[in-house]
Amino acid sequence: MTDSKKTEPFDIKPFARIHGLERLSPQHLARMAELAPRIAQLGRTIPRPPDKLDAPAQRCKLLKSTS
């Protein structure tokens, strides 16, 4: 049975290149490739508020600043 959640190997080199990370060593790129599915998975675990009016936290709102 195929695991639909299994991630395909991610070619990180083009991603790094287009984002200006040309100086990363092969070891750094390998580590980045290892991290990529973990970060994607972590992002998916963040609950999405059902209400579109639930806006991101803002420092001024958290502090109830009047300034």
Partner: protein, 459 residues
């Protein structure tokens, strides 16, 4: 001689039994005697401190006493800018960086008459994953209670300096625990006030939306005294002068205090000695006439960690983008790993995490509105052995610190005793935004009723 607290040193300056020069010399002697073993400092400015001490003595002798910090030696984490002193943030990428201006908090402390001794050890850029990889320019600070153990990060030198007496008080910075973890590990008092209470101007950022500076001291009264001196009084809820110091010693009977003993799903149980000290501390509070109300954290710690694991790396990657692009080999493993991760975070997920933060903040604010203060665990473990995994990362990760970073509530770490092996235990006290006075009121009463401040590391 036992190191003096802020309160003791200030009283002795006022009654003429000690001078700022004596205090600076005492700290320099202490540094010479023990700092090779504990590495609290990255840079010591002995000459500058002595010059400032002479000036302070002359002012005080002339009757121009500026207040309780006048003539007292302090030190700052090396992510704070101080004019003329190296500001490396323990990074190869910043060696040789010498700012021309003081950061706002150093400026405020100097204006209060305090004497800057130097810069304290830190994880690189004030960031790390709990591990120690031995790849930074300066040695890792060591816990003065047991130099084979870690003193907590990222303000690694600040707790060490105060516990060991190489500074009378110190300043650090916290994103999701970097003041509170070192305070927990070293038995010192560490507080993060309501965000905005203390200026971040001139402190190298780690995560704009969560960074919060805070003082390290030996006692609760000391902490209140320092916060009184540096709090931003242009803020919307500016405290009255000396409001925090005056809260220490006030009657606590009648305070509405919540306790959280259940650390929540997915978290390991606290160390047995940590849990026993917590329960014993609650008995002390009950004995002082407080009715404690057991409650639960309204959000799972795991949800909070997930949010900060997106927000922190993403913001750090934005802050240090140039270093990752141009000098990745000069970054330590922990920081580089975080920046690589942060470079992979989607904007959509970052925004989702910030939306989640608001919900966490609302839920905790709703809980806190029913109480004056909340007492719970900080770190669940005692100070770990240096270089021993997973002990090191467990100390940093297994905590109840992150929820209150996300919710922007003031929180203080206080010593609750010692293990049989002599390591500090602690708890965390949280209050409503803008109400640090309630923390000081409660923590001050607990401190007065317990003997934990009588003991210092034997170095």
């Amino acid at each position: 001689m036992q190191p003096l607290t802020v309160t003791e040193a200030s009283e002795r300056i006022l009654n003429g039994t000690i001078t700022p020069i004596d205090l600076v010399d005492s700290c320099l002697d202490r540094i010479a005697a023990v700092d090779d073993h504990i590495h609290s400092y990255i840079h010591v400015d002995a000459e500058g401190a002595r010059t400032a001490a002479l000036e302070a003595k002359a002012e005080i002798d002339a009757g121009n006493w500026r207040g309780p910090l006048h003539g007292l030696p302090f030190a700052v984490k090396d992510n704070y800018d101080a004019a003329g002193m190296p500001a490396t943030a323990n990074s190869k990428t910043r060696l040789g960086n010498v700012p021309r201006q003081d950061c706002d908090l150093v400026r405020r402390l100097k204006a209060a008459g305090a004497i800057l001794m130097g810069k304290l050890a830190t994880w690189e850029f004030g960031t790390g994953n709990g591990g120690d990889y031995g790849d930074l320019p300066f040695p890792t600070a060591r816990n003065p209670w047991d130099t084979e153990r870690f003193p907590g990060g990222s303000s690694t030198g600040a707790g060490v300096a105060v516990a060991a007496g190489t500074a009378v008080f110190a300043m650090g910075s916290d994103t999701t625990g970097s003041v509170r973890l070192p305070a927990a590990a070293t038995g010192t008092v560490g507080i993060i006030p309501t965000p905005g209470r203390l200026s971040l101007d001139g402190i190298l950022p780690n995560c704009w939306s969560l960074d919060n500076p805070g003082p390290f001291t030996w006692t609760i009264a000391d902490s209140a005294t320092v916060l009184d001196a540096i709090a931003d009084r242009t803020h919307w809820d500016a405290p009255a002068p000396l409001a925090f110091r005056r809260a220490v010693g006030q009657e606590i009977r009648g305070m509405r205090v919540a306790i959280i003993t259940d650390v929540g799903p997915g978290m390991p149980e606290p160390d047995a000695e940590m849990a026993a000290a917590f329960e014993a501390g609650l008995d002390v509070l009950r004995g002082l006439g407080i009715d404690l109300v057991e409650t639960r954290l309204p959000v799972a710690p795991a949800t909070c960690f997930a949010a900060t694991s997106i927000i922190g790396p993403a913001e750090s990657a934005a802050i240090h983008e140039q270093e990752l692009r141009e000098r990745p080999d000069d970054l330590g493993f922990a920081l580089r790993d975080k920046l690589l991760a942060g470079s992979l975070v989607r904007a959509v997920d970052y925004i989702a995490a910030q939306r989640q933060r608001q919900l966490v903040a609302d839920a905790i604010e709703h809980l806190m509105n029913a109480f004056d203060a909340l007492v719970t665990f900080g770190a669940l473990h005692v100070s770990p052995h240096l270089g021993v995994e997973p002990e090191m990362t467990a100390f940093t990760m297994d905590t109840l610190l992150t929820p209150f970073s996300l919710s922007a509530h003031p929180a203080l770490i206080q010593c609750t005793g010692y293990t049989d092996a002599g390591l500090p235990l602690h708890w965390q006290i949280v209050a409503n935004r803008g109400d640090e006075a309630s923390i000081y009121r409660l923590a001050g009463a607990y401190e007065a009723a317990t003997p934990w401040r009588d003991r210092r590391p034997d170095l």
